[in-house]
Amino acid sequence: MGGSQDKPQLIIDGKRTDGRAPGELRPIKIEAGVVKNAKGSAYLEWGNNKVLAAVYGPKEAQPKHIADPNKAIIKCRYQMAPFSSLEEHNRSGPNRRAIEISKVTKEVFENVILLDDFPGCEIDVFVEVLQSDGGTRAAGITAAAVAVASSGIPMRDIPYAVSAGKAGDSILLDLNKLEDNYSDADMPVAIAPREGEILLLQMDGNLTKEQTIQALDMIKKAGETIVKIQRDALEAKYR
């Protein structure tokens, strides 16, 4: 979201600046089990995004006072590497944006992981964005879902995430950084695909109700592709 004076045209002759159709995803590649020390892990490339996710635990929750005697707690940290973006150098360490993304990512996994199976424990989910090009929280959740699944920690569903947005009157799937900077709306969403439940939803910009529904339909359809890539990555690991 920006909209400076020299706003580039995001759609020309029905094509986006990187040649995609409005409802088209960027290419996605996932490899499971790439961090040897972790219980589960995944490396994901999504367009120019490069994300590493790893899961540790379940282990005794530390410090002890945060433990829940009835279920596991999840700790989650999303972080962008200082060298990850084409533009500026990001200071390392959690900024306010990263703290919020860590929180909403944690909430996605609190929904799907069977926390009751591990009372008093913690499960750690780490998402490191090594290179960023828009949509990193969605890429992070999609990667972390494969990491958790590959760890064997029981989940009731494997979530995926992707964003949709708006440029002019067109609804676009999976905004890249340039599109995100100049779009009229951006809406990252995480879905539990089995029932189509919304686990994460954020939006800013301007959307009518109808445009929101249209964006959600696009996200649902993209789920078929993303879920298959996640499954293939898990199958490749255990083949």
Binding site: M1, G2, S4, Q5, N70, E87, E88, R96, R97, I99, E100, S102, K103, V104, E107, E110, N111, M187, A192, E195, G196, E197, I198, L199, L200, L201, Q202, M203, D204, G205, N206, L207, T208, K209, T212, I213, L216, K220
Partner: protein, 259 residues
């Protein structure tokens, strides 16, 4: 384990009832008090039921963001003061406080409440607008109270002057240039029930939270929170309710700021 209070809330909601006989899609009483802090450029205190928040606006000379050299800055913060609830503790902002501030900020920014272009002074110098939300008593639904208080404080804020390197904050001043208005509606999901404007007791038992910020025409920001999930049709009906109920919020806001 759920405590006694939580058990009672679940039982009550299970019977289709709310505290104080409230309907599911009914706000508690809302009150806005303007100008509580005359030293601030703008201020507003909002009560929604027993929740009370105070928003204060300060405007200071600062440097623009590198990617927006011709625009002023908007910086929103929120403090969950320890005096406001036995569950709040002193210390650096928690993820909850940061999320709260950022959701309010996104609504205000997306609805263009502040005309950031009007805050340009000269090359390398712009006005920075600081909105700080103080929670004075917590009884649920901070997001709607915070958005209402922040918007009201901004709509009423005085605009300082910059003359010969000095900032003039008193005397004959104009108003901060604003161009939009935003309010938000927050819903809690408890079991399969959806409630507008959750109280503190209801928030203790809610699984999921959804905030939708809008103006008269469009949705400006949304945020789903907590582990509970929402279906597409639930979201659709919450959008409808938001467009309906926000009329009431805008009326209260307009009255408070004298429009």
């Amino acid at each position: 384990m759920v405590g006694e209070n939580e058990e009672y809330m679940l039982e009550l909601l299970g019977k289709g009832k709310r505290e104080q006989e409230r309907d599911k899609m009914q706000y508690r009483d809302i009150k806005i008090e303007m100008g509580k802090i005359p030293h601030a450029e703008g201020s507003a205190q909002v009560d929604i039921g027993d929740t009370r928040v105070l928003a204060g606006v300060k405007i200071a000379v600062g440097a623009p963001l590198p990617d927006k050299p011709d625009e002023g800055a908007l910086i929103t913060g929120a403090e969950l003061l320890p005096l406001a609830s036995s569950t709040y503790e002193p210390g650096p902002p928690t993820p909850e406080a940061i999320e709260f501030a950022r959701v309010v900020d996104r609504g205000i920014r997306a609805a263009e409440v502040v005309d950031l272009k009007s805050l340009f002074i000269e090359e390398g110098k712009v006005w920075s607008t600081f909105v700080d939300i103080y929670v004075l008593n917590y009884d649920g639904n901070l997001f709607d109270a915070g958005t209402l208080a922040s918007t009201a404080a901004l709509l009423s804020a005085r605009m300082p002057k910059y003359e010969d390197g000095n900032v003039i904050r008193e005397g004959n001043l104009g108003k901060l240039k604003t161009s939009g208005k935003v309010t938000s509606c927050t819903f809690a999901k408890v079991g399969n029930t959806i409630l507008l404007d959750p109280s503190g007791n209801e928030e203790k038992v809610m699984a999921g939270r959804m905030t939708i910020a809008n103006d008269e025409n469009v949705i400006r920001a949304m945020q789903k929170g907590l582990r509970g999930a929402f279906s597409y049709s639930e979201l659709s009906s919450m959008m409808d309710t938001t467009f309906d109920k926000s009329k009431q919020l805008r009326d209260i806001l307009n009255k408070a700021v004298g429009e």
